[in-house]
């Protein structure tokens, strides 16, 4: 028995190392592409040398923080989606569903289009507060002697609709302004111009959120058995649900505050991972994190380089991935809508 | 009870047969019933019994043309039911499925009026005949005073009677019911079964029902069909079907089968689990 476990954990370790290697390779390549092309070997050299050479400065000051941000944001959104899909017992749930993205978007357009003269750091802060607040509002409004998965989802849809209307109101009333394009780009989700400042702001949220999520992953498995069974097994279902949703909100709101409202990572990635490896959330959460990180990284690379002179918001590409994925979901007769 | 004259079903001739021939039934790629032949006796009450998953509901739904057979056919009065226009079938055969859901705020009267649909044209204009049929159906089910009540305010038995009233308003000589007594408490179960018995005795209505409860089936039917693993295990009078052998082989239960002196029908008393039921 022990030998089997050892062999299993041994092969799991190997598996993780292989994955880490792949991700590392992608990262190195990503650092090398862009307006100034840098060969992988030179990338390594630049990393070691620090921001002393020209290549070093490009890698260190521009691309490395952006890469790390892309990975963190992608991971956080994916984990948040995985938690919410488990808690609502519905594989089509996402951070957008519980109002986080809409609330963050509303706060952001207020700053960009109304309080135009606010200093730069206010935008992510406002988005964070907006996203967290609307997520909390959704949770509270869904409370009726506890929060059932269905009520959470439906309340989220209602609140999202209200905030979306508010966003549209602000944008249409100020659409002539120069900042309109900036607002739209933020709403689409973009990592343009993000650097070490943003990364350092995000990091504490990432550490606490991701650690918390991994530690509590097994609770999602129990909740999936239904409230009656979970209570019978001794779990405080409302407390567990509230904690998990809070973590999901924190992860998504902080990610959105830095990168804008990036579409579909929180919906598609966990759904896909669950189709591939099953519904054990102890595995689904970390794998979703990894997949989300890689997805956004690649999307950002494409966004940076597809047009020679312009940058496209990365969120556009994550949305473009959503479309064929939906088609794939429909064609596959075995889609699981309930987890 | 009926102050109105009995109203003839709209088809001139009474039914001659309802027969399943070489029926193979299933869902998606799962076959539940294979090459089944079954003829339902006209003018009698038939109870279809069997354990869960035996296919009894499947067979009855196919007979009511709610399920399309994978092969074989159901014949109503000599004509294949699948090739008969569905409204015409609805004038010959009424079906009450399991656990029907009622929309909020629906009154008994409106539900019963729905039963006239097969007799109405595309524009749905009502005739005197329609009104008479509805009144008759309400009378038969003792629901005249409940006509304006909404379904959700009725008890289980009353609600089931309302659905039966709808089927009655269809004025068909054949009535098919899928588990009409499940989820009702005992008093209401007997209420429904006694009503069906009355309809059969007074109007000669052919009743075909899937029943969960063996003793009720034996007591309230003339003809029993025991289904086991998609096949007819035995059919005949309740005496012939409700036997120790049925309980042992089909249900996996040691039981005592006794005769009820008052009704002359058999009843069973389960004693203990037997070995696994034979295939």
């Amino acid at each position: 028995m022990i030998r089997v476990a050892a062999v299993r954990s041994g092969s799991m370790l190997v598996g993780w190392l292989v994955l880490a290697g792949i991700v590392g390779a992608i990262a190195i390549v990503s650092l090398g592409i862009g307006q100034v092309s840098i060969a992988p070997g030179e990338v390594l050299g630049a990393l070691l040398a620090g921001p002393t050479t020209l290549e070093g400065r490009i890698v260190f000051d521009l691309r490395l923080p952006r890469l790390l941000l892309a990975m963190l944001v992608g991971a956080q959104l994916a984990i948040s989606g995985a938690i919410l899909q488990g808690v609502t017992r519905n594989a089509l749930a996402s951070p957008d569903l519980v109002g986080i993205t809409a609330g963050a978007g509303f706060a952001a357009v207020l700053i960009v289009l109304v309080f135009v003269d606010a200093p730069a750091f206010v935008l992510p802060l406002a988005a964070l507060i907006g996203g967290a607040t609307s997520g909390a509002i959704v949770y509270l409004l869904a409370w009726k002697q506890g929060v059932s998965p269905e009520r959470l989802a439906l309340t989220g849809i209602a609140v999202t609709a209200i905030f979306q209307a508010a966003v549209t109101a602000v944008v249409t009333l100020r659409v002539e302004q120069a900042q309109a394009q900036q607002a739209l780009r933020w709403l689409a989700g973009s990592l343009y111009g993000r650097g070490w400042d943003e990364l350092l702001v995000l990091l504490p949220w990432s550490v606490v959120g991701i650690a918390g999520a991994m530690l509590l992953a097994h609770k999602v498995n129990i909740l999936l058995l239904g409230d009656a069974v979970a209570s019978g097994l001794g779990m405080r279902t409302e407390r567990a649900r509230m904690t998990l949703v809070a973590i999901a909100i924190a992860l998504a709101a902080s990610a959105v505050s830095v990168a804008g409202t990036m579409a579909f990572i929180g919906l598609v990635i966990p759904h896909l991972i669950r189709l591939l490896i099953g519904a054990n959330h102890r595995l689904v959460l970390p794998f979703s994190a990894l997949a989300g990180a890689v997805l956004l990284l690649v999307a950002d690379d494409v966004a940076r380089t597809v047009f020679e002179t312009r940058e496209i918001p990365a969120g556009l590409f994550t949305a473009l991935i959503g479309a064929p994925y939906f088609i794939y979901l429909i064609m596959r007769r075995k889609t699981q809508i309930s987890v | 009870m009926t102050s109105l004259p009995m109203i003839e079903p709209s088809a001139a001739a009474p039914p001659t047969e309802l027969r399943a021939s070489d029926l193979t039934l299933g869902y998606d790629d799962r076959i539940v019933v294979r090459s089944l032949d079954l003829s339902f006796p006209i003018g009698r009450i038939t109870a279809v019994v069997g354990p869960n998953g035996s296919g009894k509901s499947t067979i009855v739904r196919a007979a009511a043309r709610l399920l399309r057979p994978k092969s074989g056919a159901v014949f109503l009065d000599g004509k294949a039911i699948a090739r008969t226009p569905t409204k015409e079938v609805a004038r010959r055969l009424a079906v009450l499925p399991q656990g029907p859901s009622s929309p909020e705020g629906l009154t008994v009267e409106r539900l019963v009026w729905s039963g006239r649909y097969p007799h109405q044209g595309f524009l749905g204009t009502s005739s005197v005949g329609d009104a008479e049929a509805v009144a008759w159906a309400l009378q038969q089910t003792h629901l005249v005073d409940f006509a304006q009540r909404t379904l959700d305010t009725l008890s289980g038995g009353e609600r089931q009677r309302a659905w039966i009233a709808m089927a009655l308003a269809q004025q068909t000589p054949i009535l098919i019911l899928d588990e009409p007594t499940t989820f009702l408490d005992l008093g209401h179960q007997l209420e429904v079964l006694e009503l069906l018995g009355e309809l059969n005795a007074q109007q000669g209505m052919t009743v075909i029902m899937v029943l969960h409860e063996l003793n009720q089936a034996a007591r309230y039917s003339d003809h029993m069909v025991a289904v086991h693993a998609g096949r007819i295990w035995r059919q005949g009078t309740p005496d012939e079907v409700l036997t120790q052998e049925l309980l042992e082989v089909v249900f996996g239960v040691h039981a005592d089968v006794r005769l009820d002196g008052a009704s002359g029908k058999p009843y069973c008393v389960p004693l203990a689990r037997a070995a696994e039921p034979a295939e």
Binding site: A153, T155, G315 | R149
Partner: protein
């Protein structure tokens, strides 16, 4: 406590009264919406301008600008309301509506795409494009939501996910083509600003055909509400009837979107209000819902223009701000 429904004659009288009230509210709304605007005009001047063609400036403003706009609002509201009522009956889902089933989002995306690709395409073509997009959106949602049991929640979530997708794609189109952002974004919000007789002429045939078809099928909707098996047992050809009704619903919703952009919540709220007042008989529910929906949009348009004079908020936003809380209330009650 038993809830008795009224005996038939009284119920009919009650329906008549309710319809009268609703129609009065609608007419009043149209009149007010027509008289309100930048150029102040007393009511009798408005009436003169409506009825007498004297070529005056008042006449132009009232007849060419404001009145058709109010008409469009009314017809759009009625169409969306009937579409929503039909969808709710078809799916037996109190949360179904054009916006929650992906139909409006699909129609919207199709129209935006056509605007981007061919800005010169003729106006009368728009409802056809919208119909195709709406049918596609609806199909996606229903395919996603259909397992053995389509619960309301599954439909809502499938609709939400699909609408998010379509909105992202639309935003993407806008970003790639920055020049028309303002115009399209405004349109996406849903509104009747600048709608003229041209638009009225485009939507009226669709509304009439769709509305008449829905009324003809009202009885069938009642039967469908009893459940698939019961409906078939009564001799209804359920597959065909459902398909026909779905087409009617998409037709009505697409026509509305083609002319006024994707306005949400009208199709959700109106049937509920009507159902609350007259019950589930669609021969009464449909007309009342249609009138209520028309009045809702017209009055919302009035509010939308009055709030930030002289600026105009798109009507869709006002309705969303009303509809969101209503949907919330529905969600809490039903779940």
């Amino acid at each position: 406590m038993e809830r008795r429904a009224l005996p038939a004659a009284l119920a009919l009288g009650r329906f008549g009264v309710l319809m009268l009230v609703a129609v009065a509210a609608l007419v009043l709304g149209v009149l007010l919406d027509t008289s309100f605007g930048l150029v102040e005009m007393p009511l009798d001047a408005v009436w003169r301008a409506l009825t007498v063609d004297d070529g005056s400036q008042n006449r132009t403003i009232i007849w060419e600008l404001r009145f058709p706009r109010a008409l469009v609002a009314a017809i759009v509201g009625a169409s969306l309301a009937v579409a929503g009522a039909v969808m709710q009956a078809l799916t037996r889902n109190p949360l179904a509506s054009p916006s929650l089933t992906g139909v409006s989002a699909g129609a919207g995306l199709a129209v935006v795409a056509s605007l981007v690709l061919d800005p010169a395409r003729p106006l009368w073509l728009t409802p056809f494009i919208a119909f195709l997009g709406g049918a596609l959106g609806g199909t996606v949602v229903f395919s996603l939501a259909t397992r053995s049991v389509v619960t309301p929640i599954r439909l809502a979530l499938a609709g939400f996910a699909t609408a998010s997708l379509l909105l992202s794609l639309t935003t993407g189109l806008l970003i790639l083509n920055g020049a028309i952002v303002g115009q399209v974004y405004f349109w996406l919000a849903g509104g009747v600003a600048g709608r003229s007789w041209q638009h009225v002429n485009v939507i009226v045939p669709w509304a009439i055909v769709g509305g008449a078809a829905a009324m003809l099928f009202a009885r069938h909707l009642n039967i469908l509400l009893l459940g698939e098996d019961v409906a078939r047992g009564l001799g209804l050809q359920t597959g065909r009837t459902r398909a026909a009704l779905m087409i009617v619903a998409i037709l009505l919703a697409a026509a509305a979107v083609a002319v006024a952009g994707p306005i949400g919540f009208v199709g959700l709220i109106s049937p509920h209000v009507a159902r609350f007042l007259v019950g589930t008989d669609h021969r009464r529910l449909l007309p009342l819902a249609a009138t209520f929906g028309a009045a809702l949009v017209v009055w919302a348009d009035l509010v939308a223009r009055a709030i930030q004079r002289p600026l105009e908020i798109p009507v869709g936003i006002v309705i969303a701000l009303l509809g969101g809380p209503f949907f919330l209330f529905l969600a809490r009650r039903n779940v």
